[in-house]
Structure formats: C-alpha cells, structure tokens
Subunit: 203 residues, 4 copies
C-alpha cells in the first residue's frame, strides 16, 4: 500500500498549482486606455480570485485535517482522492466564468450556481473519501474513537448540505448564495474542526 | 548515483503540474451570451478534462508502483524517465485538440488517434524504463523474484499493445477507441497491479 | 496543530509556481515581423519579469527566515499565511500591467503604484504574521530573546513603511518608486537579516 | 544558514514547473480545418518542445550533481541560484519564439541566437555558483579534493564556452547551432560528469 505521505505531497502539489493558477484568469486591461478606471472595473475578477483562493485554502487545510486520522491508503481511496482533486483543479474555470458574469452584469445567477455546483462536487468527494476510509475503520488511526468518527462524519456532511441549500437559494438570491459559499468555508476554516477536534483524546 | 527519492519528487511535480494545467485548455464562454447553453455546449472540454485527469492519475499511480521495485537510478534511467515525462507533460495539448475536434464535430477520428498516440508513447517509455531497470536486475530490489519480474514485464506490455489496437480501431470507430483508452487506464488503476502484486512475497 | 513543515512546503509550492508563471505574461512577438527589433521592444517585459522574479525570491527567503523562529502554527496563523500567499500569487498580474504600461508609454505612474500596492499588501501580511506569532510568544521558538523579537519586529516594519513612502513618491516620480521597490528587496535579501540575526544566540 | 535541502526543493519546483509549462506555448490548430495537415505543420513547436524539455532536464540533473558537493548555502549563493532560476524559468519564452520563427520560415537565425543566449546565461550562472561555492571551499564538502574541484571547474566552463561558439556559428549556420545546443546537453547528460566523477573518492 502506498503510504499517505506521497498521496498528500501529490495532493498538495495540485492544491498549490490550482491556487496559483487562479491569477491567470484575470484579463489584462487593454493597453493605452484609462488604466485606473480599467483596474477598478476588474473588481469582479479580484473578488472571484480572493474567494477561490480562500476556498481552495480551506479545502487544503481540511484535506490535511482528514489525513491526521487516515494513516493508510488503498486503490479505492486513491481513486476517490483523484476525483476530489479533479473537482479542485477545475475551480479556476468556474471562477473565471463567475468573474466574467459579474463583470458583464449578466448571467450572475447561473455563474454562481455553476460555481457552487463545483464546490458541492468537492464536498461530496470529501464525504465519499471519509466514508470509504471509516468503513470498518480500515484506513483510520486506531486511536480515533467511534464517537469521534461519527462526529467527523456529521461535520463533513455540513459541507455538501450547506452548498446544496446555498445553490437553491442562488436561483433566487444569487448574492446571498455567494456569501454563503464564503461563510461555509469560514466555518470549516476556523477553528479547524476536523483534525483539531480530538485533543482530549491525545492528552 | 542519484537516489530515487529525488527522481520521484521531480516526477511527481511534473505529474501534478500537468494534471492541474488541463483546466486552462477549457475555453471560456463568450461573455453576455446564453450562459447555460454555453456551459452545456462545452461538454467535450469537460469530458476531455476528466479523461486526461484520470489518465495522468493512473500513470502517476503506476509510476509509483514501479518505484516500489526500482531502488537505484543511473543516467540511462534518468534519461528514459525524462522521455516519459516529456510524453506526459505533452498530454494537455492532444487533450485540447480532442476537445475542440469533438466540439466542432469534425476531425474526431484524427484527434482521437493523435490522443491515443501520445498515450502509446507514454506506454512505450514505461516499458523501456522497466526493461532498462530489469536487465540483469541492476536497478531492482533484490527481493523481487525472477517470476515477478517476468509477470510485471508482461503486464506492462498490455499498455502499449492495447493502445496500438485501440488506435487502429479508432480509424474506424473513434468512440470505441476513446472508450478503450478509459478502459485501459481503469485496468491499470484497479487493482494496482504493479506494486500491489507481490504481497505473498512480503508476508 | 499542523506542524510548520507542511505549511512551508505548501507555501514553497506557491512561491515556485508564482515565480515560474511570470514568464507567460511576456507577449510573443508577431511572427514574420522584424524579430530583432521586436525582441528589443519587449524590454519592459524583461525588466518587469526580472524585478518580480527577484521580489518573489526575496519574499521567499524572508518567509523561510521567519520560519527559523516560528515552530508551531494554529488556525489564525494559517489564515494569515494564506492571505500573504494570496498577495504573492497575485504578483504576476500587476507585473503584466506594469510591463504593458511601460511598453505603451502611458499610465506608467498608475501601473507602478498598483504594483507597489501589491508589494505593500505582502509586507503588511508579513507583519501581521509576525505579530500574531510573537504575541505572548505562542508560536515562537523559546530560545529567541525578547530583544531579538523586538529587533525583528522593527526590521519587518521597514518593508511596508518603505513601500508606502515609495508609492507616494511614485505619484510624482514613477521611476524612482520602481528603483525603491528594487532597493527594498535588496535590503531584505542581503544579508538575510531575519533568520541570520541571532547567531550569537545559537553559539 | 539555510540548509541546501530547502534550496534544492524550491529549485526543483521551478524546474518542474518550467518544464511542464513548455506545452502551453504550442498553439492549438484552428478548429474545423484540415487537422492532420495542421498537426504536421506544427512540427517546429514539437521540436522546440522536445529540445527545451531535454535542455531543462539536463540542467536539472547537473544542478543536483553540483549539490552533491555543495553542502552549505549563504545569501550570496542563494542570490546566484535565484539568478540561475531566473534564466531557466525564462526558457519557455525563447522556446516559443524559436518555434514560431521556424514555423513562419523567417528569422530562424535571430531566434536560434536568442535561444542560445538564454542557455548561455544559464551556463554563466552555473559557473558563478560553482566559483562562489568553491572559493576557499567555503560551501563545499571537505572530502572533495582540490584536484576534483579544478576538474569540475574546467568541465563547467565547457558549457558557456560551447554555447558562445555555437551562437557565433548560428549567425552563419543556424541549424548547426541548434544541433550544437542539443549536443552540449547530451555531453552534460551522459554520463553525469559532475556528481558521478569522484567515485574513487567515495570508495
């Protein structure tokens, strides 16, 4: 079995590249024009850049959180991780679509729903990875109690559930949906609920 | 001699970057148009993205599988590995060609053959690496039996042989060839046949 | 708590990718034209490439310098580091804006101020990270004296203060501002003042 | 002092990214046209891709070769390494210029000279790094004999000297120059002359 170090290093590489590629989706202003106005006009691109940077960062932190408990891998887990990375590496595309939609003042609704659907896909794969690892605890650290496994399982379900609700809300209130995407990631970012939860076990 | 850790780390970097660069080949929909229709119209790009993501992921997993047994490197092996990486890092190009051909509804046949030829090249370099490493076992772990070496040699030959057949089929039935490329990678992905095979030796 | 190794590795990935992506902002000369003249005409792109390469390199070296003393992380620190990386990964954009402004001979002033503002943002996040880590020394190596902490705090403040002054100067003398950005980074590059300072403590 | 592990890891990241970015310089054929002809017409892009892939690979191998002997770093060495990486990360640009010049059948001479000048810059920085590290042996492994240091110094000088001659030749015989660039890299690739040379010392 491949040890998790290598899987994490490869995943980290994909995270780092996807997060740094976000910048190339920002269109350069036309040369010779009114540059201050052009740079201000690009605010939707900056906003989309910042949101996606934070989203990928939050997913990265939680990915590591999960690997505090997952100490073995097998082929099924590798494939599920690959599917998660496939959704994460896709994020620059809906980010650029979102920036353009806000910028052109049309199709914001569908762009926000499309963006949220990508995050929903990430969330679903995160849950599939956890369920797969936790089934009969085959890939988990033995020191993790059944109670903690159930707690983390419930916590991880918050992600896709909240994204699904936010996407539905986005059909009516697109900006509320976008705010929800940010809120969901702050929820998972602070405090680090997945790996940080069981300190009482370690002491 | 360079130890294999560094070679694997460099190769992993190339794998991670090539897999994450796939997304930038997806053309952005024109702003202000009918976005839902545009996003649906891009399905060939999503399909090509998903296939290449899986293909590169499968090659990555098998690359590591080989390095379970290869424990030394020399210059010849470094050069062969570089040639393999050259073919892998090229994959985003035939992927984009394939997506555009399917999207425009013309030249699918040649695009699929071109895509398959790139995978065939990867497969050939994988075999050259293995033959080079296995000749007089100079770069292999001594615990690997001659029987296992022959079994892995036969197994790795399946790749280029199957790609060659699929490419020929693609001249007549392009979609069957594309389905074969996916099937070949699933074959090598699950179960991990190269490194996972000799458990009876380790016990 | 996540140990700092992983945080540094992820940050290094972002640094390495951002610095290597700078090249794709250089526009290719039109084919078939007067190539020598075209290649010379691109000097603003080469200049912007070289400056940003050095700037990101200098930030990278200082990032590691800080991690000589920071030996623990928590969620707040992770988020601040993510904000710093967000500003660093953004650098290719103002770099391209700067190259185009100089190239077209218009808007140099605003492009230089915009570029400096990005570096100012990096500098502010560097300071926030340090203050956060140094508050009640919670994330610092215990061997670092209070005197050294204050010395590093003062030193790090030089960055944003100098950038702020240079940006203001840039409103009048754009080229002096650009020269200042380079000078600030040389100041932080040579000698490595942050990690290199406390050798008398280590001996 | 920063230990060399981190410097090598960062450098490896830049190498891996620069080598993988080469593919995005290949222009996609126009959709709907005569795809087989278009794919053949792109041969200069494939050639330039293959040459630069090999060149960067050869530089990478030699970079590691040097770090078999360099066991410490200081600020001056970091800066020289950064300058070398600046030249390496620039390679995708002259590669694309070269591909376009060959493709358009004009300006091959200047494109080949420009390409060679970039490799010459890399070679000069390699030599500066070595001289800096070897001066009073301050950054070198103590087991390296003075004779070996001189041998490696002479060997490394072959690079820029050969590039300079090839560039001059390129003003008259552009294709001979291109062939020379390949030959120079094969010379440094096989056998690995820098790290591989002193086996008699290690035994």
């Amino acid at each position: 079995m491949m040890d998790t170090t290598r899987l994490e290093a490869f995943s980290d590489g994909v995270f780092a590249i996807a997060i740094t590629l976000l910048v190339i989706a920002i269109e350069l202003p036309a040369p010779g024009g009114d540059l201050p106005r052009e740079l201000v006009r690009l605010w939707p691109s900056y906003l989309a850049y910042a949101i996606s940077f934070f989203v990928i960062g939050a997913i990265w932190i939680n990915h590591h959180g999960m690997f505090q408990h997952v100490i073995r891998t097998d082929n099924g887990f590798l494939v599920l991780n690959l599917l998660q990375l496939m959704a994460i590496a896709f994020i620059p595309f809906p980010t650029a679509v979102l920036a353009r939609a806000i910028s052109s003042g049309s199709n914001e609704r569908i762009a926000i729903v499309f963006y949220g659907a990508t995050l929903l896909a990430v969330g679903i794969f995160v849950n599939l990875m956890w369920w797969y690892a936790a089934r009969r605890r085959r890939l988990l650290d033995k020191n993790l109690s059944g109670q903690d496994i159930r707690r983390i399982s419930r916590l991880l379900l918050v992600g896709p559930a909240a994204y699904a609700v936010a996407i539905l809300a986005g059909l009516v209130l697109p900006w509320a949906a976008l705010a929800s995407f940010i809120a969901i990631n702050i929820f998972f970012l602070w405090p680090r609920r997945i790996s940080g939860a069981p300190p009482r076990l370690e002491s």
